[in-house]
């Protein structure tokens, strides 16, 4: 079964399911790495105007995915992107992008220069930045785009002395930059953004006069050159080190050359293919040769080379270390012994024990288990996998602290791998590739191939978190489902909601967006209803011009910012009338918009109030506007508008007050002109205070009468003003004009405040009985206070007086008070 030689092995992956009449002859072929799809452009080389070429897409096992006649221009090169999209580079430099199912996605151009001088050769390459395209034009210049999803065209410098197409070239990724390696005869150049640097591979045999072919390894770390003398030079791609050089003894130029090397492997090996012949070259002088029956294509992979022919699909690989150790004839490696032990155990033979003991004596049992598990991972045949895993499991029984993770995850991985390698799925991944690619990407690929049930199974089996796993798959399924034109909105909406019901983290809005994009607005709205987060519904609703719905959803979400977004959008979208009408039904939005207007658009605010007949607010609006204006006339005019509105709002109080304010303003203005006193803008009280303080008593009185100022207020005011001017005579007169509405205690207090005890005493007698004690105390008349308190027989007042007496001077008084207090309490 195995063809061991030089530790290279070739295994068959599939017998191809396609039925190609002429094999791959006359086909332009491109196969994606990581077991990706295969694209064929049939009849490409025939160039007869009558027969159009046919573009066909197959899975790795040759099952048809798409097929259609090629109607565009002449294709120079086919290639796949990292996300399994097909790139078709045309002669004029246009690149067409198709999906896996042959659906046209988009196209882009490689620039004017390319389209003018036409494409000579093209290479499609993958780097950490995505998929790139490199073009050699008819003018013998290179143009390069590193990432087709973010196209930045770079035209590389000229290669000196290049008269005709170079003998061969390749794209390298070095120092985070894509470079081109060009061979012109025996000369070798590296082209980067700025310069063209000649380079020499160390130790290249001198008999070569031309480099006819070159290839770079999957990792871009190694380079192989084939010379016209038939020598293969292998070394590092930075051209610092030579690994080996082998003579193939064939001088005709090959069809294809590729690296066949595992990551971390010590031995370089490359595969060169001619018509009907495949040669593997390695470290030693000898080569391995395979005969090819059929036209074939080499597909370089991370850990080997796939060979696709018209009938078969094979994998050429360096034998993995673990497998070699175990399966090498007469191997004494621990893994081999464990496998043997297990075989004997199955046969119920005691030899099992002997083998086991042998391993255990060298304490290599855990190493043995590890080897078996690892080897199982590299095997493609489920039976072999099982045998190895059983052996590992058997060995594990004799180990106490062996961590189970490796074994368990290998079992899981293999189950998944076997499932996707199945003929019907056709993704022939090796374990190494799978680990590099990650489960997420694998699920993506399954989804892309519309293998939803399998994808979900894989997620569930590998216990991928629902967010990244099942939910994501379901979302993709739903996005696909909504595009199915033949089913009715109801059916689809129902199907989607039933399937997605209990999945976590589903974004219905994304699905709805897809539905909308495929022209099904009604379905989109139906789907949005399932979206629990109303905030998510809004952007799409806006896009679908369902503004009222969008607005109410935004409000429902409670996210003010979102409401703002919608309001601003509507403001620009609708005419003013409609906009206002819509806001009117949405108080939250309206109040937000008012907020905005308050800061940005005062006039709009007014319009809004007008529309609502909100006279109260309009009144407030004018009042506010009035004190922003400096000119008196304008202020009065604005206040008049306010008065009108307040009357309309039946708010007589505000109207009257505002009218008063207008009167006050006019009065202030008049007085300002006459008396040169700063008054405008003062409150009534402040105006009166100012007037009194400058002695304009008449005018103050006038205000008092005109504005129905309460007596109390006026008395307080005048009292204070007179006291401040220490106009005691006038104060006395004032006090006698009529009976004070605020009583006479304030008179006493104000005099004391201005340290005039003499004047204060004048008013004590006028104070009401209730306040007598306070008044006496205020002027410091203890006797009087005591007298008043005792007279009123008020216990608390007596106590107050007592607390103010000093024990030394008021001895007698205190006695009297105490006695009076005693009787007051008795009562």
């Amino acid at each position: 079964k195995y063809y061991y030689a030089f530790n290279i092995l070739k295994i068959e992956l599939y017998e191809m399911g396609w039925n190609l009449k002429d094999g791959l002859r006359e086909c332009l072929v491109a196969a994606a790495p990581y077991g990706g799809p295969i694209a064929l452009l049939k009849g490409h080389y025939r160039r007869s105007p009558s027969a159009r070429p046919q573009l066909e897409i197959y899975s790795s096992s040759g099952l048809p995915l798409a097929s259609f006649p090629w109607k565009s221009g002449v294709v120079k090169q086919l290639g796949w992107t990292v996300s399994d999209d097909l790139l078709c580079v045309q002669e004029d430099g246009t690149v067409l992008v198709y999906d896996l199912w042959g659906g046209f996605k988009r196209h882009f151009s490689m620039g004017n220069e390319v389209s003018q001088s036409q494409v000579l050769e093209t290479k499609i390459f993958h780097s950490p930045y995505g998929t790139g395209v490199a073009i050699l034009t008819g003018a013998l210049r290179f143009t390069l785009a590193t990432n087709i999803d973010d196209i930045k065209l770079r035209r590389l410098p000229e290669v000196p002395g290049l008269q005709e197409a170079p003998s061969c070239w390749a794209v390298l990724t070095q120092d985070r930059q894509s470079k081109v390696l060009v061979a012109n005869g025996s000369q070798l150049f590296i082209l980067d953004n700025t310069a063209c640097t000649p380079v020499t591979p160390p130790g290249l045999s001198p008999q070569a006069s031309s480099i006819v072919h070159m290839c770079v390894s999957f990792s871009y770390k190694y380079l192989a050159l084939l010379t016209d003398s038939g020598h293969v030079w292998m070394g590092t791609s930075n051209l610092k080190e030579k690994l080996s050089e082998v003579d193939t003894k064939i001088k005709t130029p090959p069809k294809q050359m590729a690296w066949c090397r595992r990551p971390k492997s010590q031995q370089p090996s490359a595969v060169v293919m001619w018509d009907g012949l495949l040669i593997v070259v390695g470290e030693c002088k000898e080569t391995i040769q395979y005969h090819l029956d059929d036209d074939s294509v080499l597909v370089p992979e991370l850990d080997g080379v796939r060979i696709i022919s018209g009938t078969h699909h094979e994998l050429l690989q360096e034998v993995p270390g673990a497998c070699e150790e175990i399966f090498k004839i007469a191997s004494m490696a621990p893994g081999a012994l464990l496998l043997e032990a297990h075989k004997e155990y199955e046969k119920e033979s005691q030899k099992a024990d002997e083998y086991l003991r042998e391993i255990k004596e060298q304490s290599l049992l855990s190493e043995a288990v590890r080897q078996c598990v690892e080897a199982a991972g590299h095997e493609h045949e489920p039976e072999t996998q099982k045998t190895l895993l059983r052996a590992a499991s058997f060995g594990k029984c004799f180990l106490s602290n062996f961590p189970p993770e490796q074994f368990v995850s290998m079992c899981r991985d293999l189950r998944v791998l076997n499932a996707v390698r199945d003929y019907t799925v056709g993704i022939p991944l090796t374990h190494t590739q799978f680990k590099q690619m990650t489960v997420q990407v694998l699920i993506d690929r399954l989804v892309y191939r519309k293998l939803y049930p399998l994808a979900i199974e894989v997620c569930r089996y590998l216990k991928t978190p629902e967010y990244q796993g099942v939910s994501r798959v379901l979302k993709h399924w739903a996005c696909y489902k909504v595009q199915q034109k033949e089913e009715s909105d109801e059916v689809i909406a129902k199907a989607v909601s039933v399937k997605l019901a209990d999945a976590a983290g589903i974004s219905y809005s994304e699905i709805a967006t897809k539905a909308y994009e495929s022209g099904r607005t009604e379905l989109a709205i139906k789907l949005l209803e399932f979206e629990p987060r109303s905030g998510e519904q809004v952007p799409l609703l806006l896009k679908m011009k369902k503004s009222p719905l969008a607005l109410s959803k935004a409000i429902e979400s409670g996210d003010t910012d979102l409401v703002y977004t919608v309001v601003m959008y509507l403001k620009n979208e609708l005419n003013r009338g409609d906009f206002f009408m819509m806001l009117r039904n949405q108080p939250v939005a309206l109040s937000l918009y008012k907020q905005f207007c308050k800061h940005q658009e005062q006039d709009t605010l007014k319009d809004l109030f007008n529309q609502d007949d909100d006279h109260e607010e309009l009144g407030n609006f004018y009042v506010k506007a009035s004190y922003k204006d400096q000119r008196l006339e304008a202020r009065v005019a604005l206040l008049q508008s306010a008065v009108d509105e307040y009357y309309k709002a039946k708010n007589d109080f505000s109207a009257k007050t505002t009218e008063d304010e207008m009167r006050l303003l006019r009065f202030q203005r008049k007085l300002e002109e006459e008396k040169d006193e700063q008054l405008v803008g003062f409150s009534l009280q402040d105006t009166m205070t100012t007037l009194l303080s400058v002695g304009l008593h008449k005018h103050a009185e006038q205000l008092y009468k005109d504005f129905r100022v309460p007596d109390k207020r006026f008395w307080w005011l005048k009292l204070k003003a007179l006291a401040e001017k220490e106009d005691w005579e006038e104060l006395e007169k004032f006090g006698k004009t009529k009976k004070s509405p605020i009583g006479y205690l304030p008179f006493v207090e104000v005099c004391i405040k201005h340290h005039n005890k003499y004047e204060a005493k004048k008013y004590v007698s006028k104070v009401t009985p209730e306040q007598k004690v306070k008044a006496h105390l205020a002027v410091g008349d203890m006797e009087g206070a005591a007298e008043a308190a005792i007279e009123r027989r008020n216990e608390s007042e007596i106590s107050t007086v007592l607390s103010r007496c000093s024990a030394t001077t008021d001895h007698l008084l205190m006695e009297r008070l105490n006695r009076a207090k005693a009787t007051a309490v008795k009562k």
Partner: protein, 595 residues
Amino acid sequence: MAHTEWKDAPGLPDFSLLKRLARDQLIFLLEQLPGKKDLFIDADLMSPLDRIANVTILKQHEVDKLYKVELKPIFVLMFTDLVNADKVAGRFRRYKIIFTPQKFYACETVLEEQGVYGDVTTDEWNFYILPLDDDILSLELPEFFRDNFLEGDQRWVTTAGSALRLLQSVYGSFSKVYGIGRCAKMVYESWRELMEDGEQRTRQPEFAKVFLVDRDVDFVTPLCSQVVYEGLVDDLFRIKCGSVEFGPDVTSSDKSIKVMLNSQDKVFSEIRNEHFSNVFGFLSQKAKNLQTAYDKRRGMDIQQMKAFVADELKGLKQEHRLLSLHIGASESMMKKKTKQDFQELLKTEHSLLEGFEIRECITYIEEHINRQVSMIDSLRLLCLLSITENGLLSKDYRSLKAQYLQSYGIEHLLTFANLRQLGLLEEQQAGETLTVMESKVGKLVNDKTVGKLTDAFSSLAKKSNFRALSKRLALVPKSGEEYDLRVPRDMAYVFSGAYIPLSCKLIEQVLERDGWTGMEEVTRMLNGQEFAVTEARSKTDAQRIVLVMFLGGCTFSEISALRFLGKERGCRFIVVTTAITNSSRLLEALLDNSA
């Protein structure tokens, strides 16, 4: 201290972590623009920023010059001018606007309209929470109150939700969430939504219960004069971001001194929750002790003296400095607050709370207005009167309003419109009975969408029902009983024994009942909107740490009351507030006499 703390009161989580998170993010944002840079900072952000990253740290990250920008609403416009000026001058700089705590769509719209959108990059500094103290976390959003309750602008709801989420992701999930108020409900929902979007982490929670409360559930408490030391300091000197500037009358020198007020200050932490009548006595006792400690050095030999200087002197000096400051402050307080008029003011407030001698109160308020004693205080008394009396009689309403306008100018018409909208100052509606009002509210509340639509106008249908609430919850102790402020027996001590803060009483009741059952009558009077949700079960110490989030601000008196409650019940309260507020800040936010 008068009470003994529970021996096993749970320790508080370490909130300095939040500061570190915020600082690291800021530094990351600064480092994204390598090289020297100038920083323009919104004036309101200065103090919080200083608590997170001081000038030294900023300089380390190549901040060259710092500019303070005062023009708040048009910050973006100022920025536009700057960019254009640079363009004219031919200067080339890179511009970045960092929005905090979050960027709003409208900001980008304005930038776009101004035509500088392409010139700048924008970023968010998700600085949600500033820990002011061991048990106080602030969102530093003073505008929350006006925006949310007056303007009906709910943009801060998500911010509050994000803050909760931040707390949850750092300190573990909550087991129980209670709340009351429309905004509280929205914050809760916004937080739930954020949680669903993100990853769930299960870890041992450091606090398990959360109580969300809207400021408009209880307007009475913030309108009362504060008499607990910390509250009084805030009323008199205005504490800003946890620090206060004591003027010359306190420091008894010609300089002002900025002091951090938090639990690090040993003197302050002992008096902050005390009624101010006790503070002076406490401080003088403390001064005596200090003297004794100083006196120790007499009769020491050299060795002892050395040890004294090395170990104790610095601590004593520090304490000395703080003590003299607080003595200065309380002196200045006593001067102002023991005067006759303050006593009368308090008496009036207490009468209003009790509902006695309302006529006298009205007369007092009238005089207060007529004499122009204080614009804010007059307004405060008017509001207290209205809330406690369920609105003013038409006659009083008009006359008081007219007098107020005569004193302070007609522009306060707008202030009154605002106060009415919030239900702070209303006219009693003749003929409209309570039941009519309630059935209206009830209808709105039942229908979820309608409820949401009417959010903005919720306050229109608001009645305070203070008197009935007060009876039901026994907020006002019976008058006539002696209340020893040295040995407080309930939370009423924060208002001289005259009133238990409604907000705190609600929290106490709900925690006691583990929900709202049995309080249907109360919630009905508070317009419903209460909720209690069990998120997860947990049986750890965390159960005894309760997070209380005030939406719209809370006062130091409330914090003191909760600290007291915590001591009584053997649990700890952590207060998260949109900002620290008091009566002046609350009312100033509602003034409309400028702009």
